[in-house]
Amino acid sequence: MQWGSVAEFLAMGGYGLYVWPSFGVAALCMGGEVIAVWRRHAAASESHDES
């Protein structure tokens, strides 16, 4: 492992400003999609039960 400290890890050799948004947005998009599908299924099943 090449990281001496947490700060060094977060800095990503000076590229933290580019590396972390990449992974952060990926996590948001994928997590958001899961939640969206979950809600869509709940909404579809609910309206299905009413009829």
Binding site: G14, Y18, S22, F23, E33, S45
Partner: protein, 253 residues
Amino acid sequence: MSTTGINWFKYSSPQAIYPLAGRMIPWFAAVAVGVIAIGLYIGFFVAPTDATQGDAYRIIFVHVPAAWMSMFLYVIMAIWAGIGLGLNARPSFMMAQAIAPTGAMFTFLALFTGSMWGKPTWGAWWVWDARLTSELILLFQYIGIILLRSSIDDLRRADRASAVLALVGVINVPIIYFSVKWWNTLHQGASVTITAAPTMAGSMVTAMLIMMVGFWMYSFAVTLARMRCVIVERERQPSWGKPASIPDVVEAR
């Protein structure tokens, strides 16, 4: 006829797919979470810093798998669309419908992470280069297919129209893939190909390929989950089964 004794058509109805997908989703989801965690660990703690690009290269662990998924999912969506058109099979159209938003999401991610990588390495967030432009067109194709479907009320016509659009657009996938060979571009060539040895350190390739597997598993889980949504939503459509009378439609609304 088939001598295997398995009636494959039994598994091709929405009524059979719905519970089957429901049983498969937790497994795909669990494997996706585990595999992506391993990939991130290797990518951030085992893979060394790149000699020329520093730690900015670590964006590759999300960028390349996302870009590959954007193309794979398009091809798979087009294949389902083609099967749907050829066999007039409802579940095939439904699979194509379920895949499109995930493909669009990965295309956006590929473009976004590419932009994040381009700024420190090329000095620009965006360039009108063959690879980037063709990937941007792929995003517009996904959006176009989704919007075309939602703009047609008749379900069968929506299925067929979006399937034709998906099939025509598949020509862009080889253009994206070969763009770095066909044109002079700022974008670097393929890091991993079937024919040549990888141009990266072993642990870098390992992390990238593991992330790739993780994204595949994620895609299986989320598209199957969306397939279940589509099945439930379509079941409500009055156009299913016997022709609907006006009172039926009014009641359904």
